[in-house]
């Protein structure tokens, strides 16, 4: 879509603002005065094309132009993944302490907890996916770039322990900037802890499916994200170990756009499948079926999820 078309659409949108049929999932705009274009456009960080936010959100936050699957909040992810009203949260009250006494860490956590409706960067629990009962973990990059500290490490570890006990599969939607620096060495140890939990879960025959979402990097890539029996990635998301800037500084040249993309990882043999957001539920359900899990939810719950 060209810029002119977009501008036309904006104008149209302003006029449209009074329309009562405004879809509910669009954040309400202030109709008086002028809106900030940021509210109306999604500017894709991959192809840099701006698209109309309403279309973008209707399309599950996927860039219509290049198919980049952009970041979701944990609630949006849950809504797209779990059967309606099937989610029960684990360890909802867990909060991090301040192991190295990092200045103002507690205040920062508190502020984000209010902003994101989260206690830390991951939500874990049980839900049904098209009738298949599963342990699910969703990382939310809005919370300190979903970095892994004590809480992420402990919740992920417990998720595998619960799943082993209940003989359920585990699906983790990973997203992370890496280790939580503010927790120092304690955050590094979470890599070993989570990987150890997966070793035990795996030895007991458990099925673990990783879904890598934007961005999956650093210590999370170098631990639980890379250890799935099946590793799925969403199209065009960033996946890597080292930061792009760090590598660019080392080699003193600009890296190509596709470097560290989901597609790059698949080509190099580190991702099993790239699956579009709209097909994710059916893909996950199929994988559970192929691993002989029993569908226990009724048809209603299978159809119940929003999308």
């Amino acid at each position: 879509m060209g810029l002119e078309d977009l501008l036309k659409k904006v104008k149209h949108r302003f006029n449209d603002e009074k329309d009562e049929h405004k879809p509910e999932h669009i954040h309400a705009h202030d109709t008086k005065g002028v809106n900030i274009p940021d509210d109306l456009f999604f500017k894709c960080p991959r192809c840099r094309t701006a698209s109309y936010k309403e279309d973008f959100e209707k399309d599950r936050k996927v860039c219509a132009h290049c198919h980049y699957h952009s970041r979701l909040t944990w609630k949006e992810r849950l809504e797209l993944t779990a059967d309606k009203d099937s989610f029960t949260e684990y360890d909802a009250k867990m909060e991090s302490l301040n192991p190295i006494g990092y200045p103002e860490y507690a205040e920062k956590l508190k502020k984000l907890q209010e902003q994101c409706d989260l206690r830390d960067a991951v939500v874990t629990g049980e839900c049904m996916i098209r009738g298949y009962k599963t342990v699910i973990g969703i990382m939310d990059s809005n919370f300190m770039m979903a970095s892994m500290g004590s809480v992420v490490g402990e919740k992920i570890t417990r998720a595998f322990e619960y799943a082993a006990k209940k003989k359920l599969p585990v699906v983790l939607f990973t997203a992370s900037g890496g280790a939580r620096m503010q927790e120092g060495i304690i955050s590094l140890m979470q890599m070993a802890k989570t990987s150890g939990a997966i070793a035990r879960f795996s030895d007991a025959g458990g099925l673990y499916i990783t879904v890598m979402t934007d961005p999956t990097t650093g210590g999370v890539t170098a631990s639980f994200a890379s250890l799935g029996d099946i590793i799925i990635a969403e199209p065009k998301v960033l996946i890597g170990f080292a930061g792009r800037r760090v590598i660019q500084d080392t080699i003193k040249q600009k890296l190509p756009d596709e470097f560290q993309s989901a597609e790059f990882l698949k080509e190099n043999g580190f991702v099993d499948m790239i699956i579009e957001r709209k097909k994710m539920r059916s893909c996950l359900a199929r994988l559970m079926k192929l691993h002989n899990f029993e569908k226990i939810g009724g048809e209603e719950s299978a159809k119940g999820a929003k999308k």
Binding site: I100, A192, S195, S223, I247
Partner: protein, 266 residues
């Protein structure tokens, strides 16, 4: 007198601080180096092989800092590529098969960050080691000699006992990286070093390591032989202690050692 974190940071970067090339001949006898990961290549940043330790066969896996620029070019300043970690895993599995204890000597600024490292799956290689070492059915002892840099060090430090030389450091990121990321100011490196709690005493307090190996007065560089003797003395004790434990108990304790680390409320 105990040195500050900043002083230790300078100390472990001294050109004459002993490296594995100094320690291996002093601590072990008849070290035979084994090469390659059997998938891609041989990474000189990680050296591995079989040696005798008080007449007992052991597998030694070590990150190699060079003693001069030539050696460092060859060993990539002890920053391993994925094939280095995969070689380490291959040798650890071999040790498991033949019932040898594994001794890892850690000394790295971190895993290498580069295009090829990403193409060959640096993240996956580290993750795989963390998982496999956790359930490896033979004793594993890791010793941090100088720099314990992030995931690149941890990939050789999932073990039954972690010992750290008195002045060595172990951290989630280098103090410089910490200052650069959190404060956008790499020049605040010293301030970061003091804040991050990365000294041997800090790590012992956190339960991250089990033992501090004392260094000769002024640092390991002043007496490599004495330093090697201290390492040997610790290893002799640890090997004896861990070999006396049944594998099931060993693995349970290893898991619990990491399982309990984390600071949270609920």
């Amino acid at each position: 007198m105990k040195m500050t974190a900043t002083e230790r940071l300078s100390l472990i970067r001294l050109k004459n601080r002993p490296t594995v090339n100094d320690y291996i001949p002093l601590v072990f006898s008849h070290f035979m180096e084994l090469h390659g990961d059997r998938h891609y290549g041989d990474d000189a940043a990680i050296m591995g092989g079989i040696a005798e330790f008080y007449s007992m066969p052991v597998t030694v896996i070590a990150q190699v800092k060079g003693r001069n620029i030539e050696e460092n070019k060859h060993t990539n300043f002890a920053m391993p590529h994925p094939e280095g970690y995969r070689k380490a895993l291959r040798l650890a599995k071999q040790a498991e098969k033949f019932g040898r204890p594994v001794i890892c000597l850690v000394d790295t600024p971190g895993a290498f960050c580069g295009i090829e490292a990403e193409e060959r799956g640096q993240g996956e290689a580290i993750a795989r080691n963390l998982m496999e070492f956790m359930t490896l059915k033979t004793p594993i002892i890791s010793v941090i000699l100088g720099e314990g840099g992030s995931g690149g060090a941890l990939a050789l430090a999932v073990c039954d006992e972690l010992a750290i030389l008195e002045n060595a450091l172990y951290s989630v990121i280098s103090p410089r990286g910490f200052a650069s990321i959190l404060w956008k100011d790499p020049t605040r490196e010293k301030e970061a070093a003091e804040l991050m709690k990365i000294t041997s005493e800090d790590l012992l307090g956190f339960g991250v390591c089990e033992k501090i190996i004392p260094e000769p007065s002024g640092g390991a560089q002043n007496d490599a032989q004495l330093m090697a003797d201290n390492i040997s003395e610790y290893l002799f004790d640890a090997v004896k202690r861990l070999c006396a434990v049944s594998i099931d108990v060993l693995l349970e304790n290893r898991y619990k050692k990491f399982r309990k680390i984390g600071m949270f409320t609920e």
